[in-house]
């Protein structure tokens, strides 16, 4: 990936009023603005789908956090996307309980039916598949999340049904 942050060609974009409102709300929870860095990145991601360089710089300027420090936080966390992702991010748990109960075959199933492997996005930008560490539902393994929804006791048939629902929603 190109590191555009170092380039002067990239400028901060304007944060939207909704983004600013939510960031301001989070600021009331902490004595220092830096503490809101991660929350602000999550807010931006909620509205934009991912955290572009322009968004990162916008948050950096708004909260007065040096861009390299904020980038250090952004790239540290699994759930902050610094590259574009599809409309629906599928997080397939690949930790030990899900592995024992066949998450590798579910990964194969996604490859076959959606044509994407881990880290890839479908051509229509509908789905991105990412492995996620233990989702803490090992008694109902295998498990995945799509957006904020968690799906349990997965089988290939169940996955087909869930994916069909998302496709129908468009």
């Amino acid at each position: 990936m190109n590191n555009l942050i170092a380039s002067t060609a990239v400028k901060a974009r304007e944060l939207t009023p909704e983004e600013i409102k939510e960031i301001e709300h989070e600021k009331t929870h902490y004595p220092y603005a830096q503490a809101v860095g991660l929350e602000a990145l999550k807010i931006v991601q909620k509205y934009q789908g991912w955290v572009s360089d322009e968004s990162l710089l916008a948050v950096s300027e708004y909260l007065d956090i040096p861009p390299d420090e904020l980038e250090g936080v952004a790239t540290f966390f699994n759930m902050i996307f610094r590259r574009p992702v599809g409309k629906n991010v599928i997080l397939l748990c690949d930790s030990v309980a899900c592995w024992m109960l066949g998450c590798d075959s579910l990964n194969e199933h996604f490859k076959k039916t959606l044509g994407i492997d881990y880290g890839e996005t479908t051509a229509d930008d509908m789905f991105t598949l990412i492995p996620v560490p233990c989702l803490g539902a090992c008694d109902r393994a295998p498990v995945m999340m799509i957006g904020r929804e968690t799906y349990y006791n997965l089988t290939t048939e169940k996955i087909d049904e869930i994916i069909a629902e998302y496709k129908a929603k468009g």
Partner: protein, 421 residues
Amino acid sequence: MDKPLTKNIEIGRAPFDFKQYEAAGGYDSVRKVIKMEPGDVVNMVKDAGLGGRGGAGFNTGLKWSFVPPPDGGPRYLVINGDEMEPGTFKDRLLIEHDPHLLIEGMITTCYALQAQTGYIFLRGEYTICEERLLQAISEAYDNGMLGKNVAGKKGFDLDIYLHTSAGRYICGEETALLNALEGKRANPRAKPPFPQVSGLWGRPTVVNNVETICNIPGIVANGVEWYQNLGTGDFVGTRISGVSGRVINPGCWEVPVGITFRELLEDYAGGMQDGYELKAFLPGGGSTDFLMPEHLDLPMDPGAVQKAGSRLGTSLIMVLDDKTCPVGCIRNLIKFFAHESCGWCTPCRDGLPWVEHILNKMEEGTGSLKDIDILDEMTRYMGPGNTFCALAPGAAEPLQSGLKYFMDEFKAHVEHGCSYN
């Protein structure tokens, strides 16, 4: 048997709202605690013998007692709800199904610590927990249990905030968690100073696990003796224990401390599924040493498990069955730890990917006997004393016990790769 942690939990029904929770005896510990001296509450919890439920098991009251006397500045309680230990799913149960219990425990604890602010550091992926906690916090404010003069106690002001993280196992380490909460990269800090003295923004801070704090309302409301009688024999209290893997009824339950692994596995989890036999088990998460079938009759107590060469950890056991490759299982665990290393210390940052690489070779059948020696050496290189925090030493535990119990399987992998499906 009293089940103070799960008495309000009924899977499939919505959690109690404030009124229902209060009608079931909720917030009694707050009404009681505000008539006590804070120091007496700390001693009470110390005497009860409650051990931390995050995995280390340190006496909770003793941990609290290290907080210096108030100096007029801020003091913090931080709840570690960043549940991410592979095979662990107990905090999810407690928060999703009875969020007010955690809030009550936090209020009572903050009174004892004379803290004015509580943060809940929650795993970002726990979206249902997030929604239910926000609801419970809002109800607690509306009913005078948070804000100014909590429960009518003049001068007892308390705010609780929810922080949702964005997925990094290292945030479960308490000093890394504090860095994350401050908005920094979540590298662990050098200790001492310990957080009780210099924690969040350099101020006195106690970091406790969700389940630990869920124990506080019961102890304060019902007393030390009641709490101690909850366990079996000489063991005190109840705890959430569970089973995952190929058992008939995987799940987690509130059990008296001191029941045996066999009781949990057979009576609660229904035993192994048809066609599968128990080969080994991880007693308390991915960072604990394997135990074998001959250890099933040990009590689920930190001391007893330590004597057998492992740790009770989170007490959610993961079953390795006879049709699952132990080398593959260890590879999966190591891959997790390698991915989740924060990169601060060399043994962890470089050691774990190296181990993962060797285990990949083993699975493919391109490993050598020399690689087994390197794995053995790596367990010491990543072991205690070489790193800031316990991530790498924890990761070394399933590997070192795997080498001890499954050496034949490692050698077979060197000869012809993995023969499991």
